[in-house]
Symmetry: C2
Subunit: 370 residues, 2 copies
């Protein structure tokens, strides 16, 4: 195990930090592109680096089913397999196993689910999730948690918190991989349950903590509130990861509240739907008004797509023709936008100007869209 | 108009040449990747250059329907639109219009067809094809020809030859674009009809000539024979283009017969189906034997995929998961393979060692597949 984290600057509750893993260093706040099956959709690892990504997330559920963690280990681990030399965080697999609807059952032992690929039966336990992630060689392995749907009665959320605590302890004891395990705070929108969850997990002294059960359908204000209040319950010297969030505004608010790490499919998935992020809002390239628009997605953007000279008119044409080049170029832009947003926030925190950054971020978005 | 062609070396019937257009120079024999709708599928123009492509082909039929040639002209022409600064050859649109099966009708005026997109009715004439290609700004515009299906009775092929001749004359008179028009020799597998077609077209003194009506289902020997015999009927000082062909073997045989230019969807389309070209034959990545194969597609290959360190095991995984990265990486490899094959043939012709090259090409393919 080779892992450390230190806060290098603070500005209000926001912090800039540096996380060191066996596969390199990550400057925080950081955004992790999602490489579901061991590949970030429509971009090469080389392009991810060019976009500024320092760490990627991969999904344990998918890699466990295909090609299988034993195969990945045999082939030299996930880094070698997916051709990514930087740090990798893997989720526990629980969230996706649990999303299989009628196909799953959850009890104290773990999650039983049917593969969406071939219907085969599987049991994911706190221990097996750690074992799979160890086989993958993840730098950061997430513990299996119970994430109740929204809305859930207080009693269900309370039970999920308690089970998550017990599972975290089992995970901590079971983990024997090359990286470190992170615990996940649950508790829904109940502040006292979040506090109880955080307290129990912090007592176990994990190398990092995630805020889970967020972005499951609640309004943006609720995401920001939970992120802020939960971050405040976590030890200052450990990285804080807000799972599955989200929109640029959500990232800005969560960073303001003291969060360090993020992942979300939004930049990659939305690119495939022709939604491109800019400082003044979203460019929906399918809009007819872009048919003869010779501007880049965003003026002044340094991404390979905008700086490379690709026009909105061409991107709209590619999208209409279902040309693969559209998601390729759009994903590059969106990931660049997200990584640049994180870099700008880091710089602002280091300079002590995060409040001004946040203000100008919202001011730009209130401009008329291009 | 700025166009020239000169033969720089000959070796038997094979020739190495240099074709100069307003958008740059093409060393021949050359392979043109197919950019159907103004984009070569799954690669960026920058990557095309990295693979060694000096010229691309775009399909008039597709660009005429979407976004429309007037729109492309208004946006600065096809080079600017598709972000490709090198030479572009466009086909006449006839082949695709004619492929619309029940939707089309052909007479002396031209081809009437229904759009596959919205069912709207269109008439493509020799004159309108030239006008569309001029609007696109193609460096090389192909005349509208009549390409009879295989097999066709001699009488039909003879009529197609005569109509193709009349249409070539109409095209030549109508063309007012920035590039040059190429004529197309028809005649099927009837040597005397090929000769009659070539003679009539050569008398019109076109800047270049294509061999059409090939690769419509005939055996490889027939392709090679028609390419060789037709090439011999064409003026030495003009480029010769074998349309829509084909497999690496077909290219080697046609170059041996004196052909200079090629296009085919095979490297790009086959890449999307997991068929990767190598010197010893095709790697079908879906084969289970590649599951744990840590070798590149081809040992010693300099393409971004192989030299970049991507393994067969990973490519197979990406293909199984329908990850876009599979066609992206596979297309890079296949285009590199095709462009390298052309470069190797050029070098062999210049050195006067084409016969030895051809021999070693077939010797490598007779090796047991990897």
């Amino acid at each position: 195990m080779s892992f450390s984290f230190s806060v290098v600057a603070e500005d209000g509750a926001a912090r800039a930090g540096r996380m060191t893993t066996a596969h390199g260093t990550v400057d925080t706040p950081a955004f992790m592109p999602v490489g579901t099956a061991g590949a970030v959709k429509a971009v090469t690892p080389e392009e991810l680096v060019a976009c500024g990504a320092e760490i990627v997330l991969a999904n344990t559920y998918h890699l466990y089913l295909r090609p299988g963690h034993d195969t990945v280990r045999e082939l030299g681990g996930l880094h070698a397999f997916m051709h990514w030399t930087g740090p990798i965080l893997t989720d526990s697999g629980g969230f996706q196993a649990f999303s299989m609807e009628a196909l799953r059952r959850l009890d104290e032992e773990g999650v039983r689910f049917k593969s969406h690929l071939d219907g085969s039966l599987h049991l994911l336990t706190p221990e097996s999730s750690m074992e799979i992630q160890a086989a993958l060689g993840s730098d950061i392995a997430m513990v299996l948690d119970e994430c109740p749907p929204l809305p859930s009665p207080r009693e269900s959320v309370e039970q999920a918190v308690e089970r998550t605590t017990r599972w975290a302890e089992r995970s901590r004891q079971a983990y024997a991989g090359p990286g470190v395990p992170f615990a996940i705070v649950q508790g829904g929108t109940f502040e006292d349950l979040r506090a109880r969850s955080a307290e129990a997990l912090v007592a176990m002294d994990f190398p990092g903590y995630a805020i889970g059960g967020v972005s499951v359908g609640e309004p943006p204000q609720a995401i920001a509130a939970v992120a802020r209040s939960t971050a405040a319950l976590l030890p200052a010297g450990r990285p804080r990861y807000l799972m599955g969030v989200g929109r640029p505004e959500d990232l800005v608010e969560a960073v303001a509240g003291g969060v360090d790490l993020f992942d979300c499919v939004m930049p990659t998935r939305n690119a495939r739907n022709g939604h491109y992020f800019t400082g003044t809002g979203v460019v929906r390239i399918r809009n007819a008004k872009y048919e003869k628009d010779l501007r880049p997605i965003e003026e002044g953007c340094g991404c390979p797509t905008c700086a490379g000279g690709y026009t909105r008119a061409y991107l709209r044409h590619l999208d209409r023709c279902n040309e693969m080049l559209a998601p390729m170029l759009g994903t590059l832009h969106n990931l660049w936008y997200y990584e640049k947003l994180m870099a700008d926030m880091r710089a602002a925190i280091e300079r002590g100007t995060f409040a001004a950054f946040r203000e100008s971020f919202y001011a730009a978005r209130s401009q008329p869209p291009a």
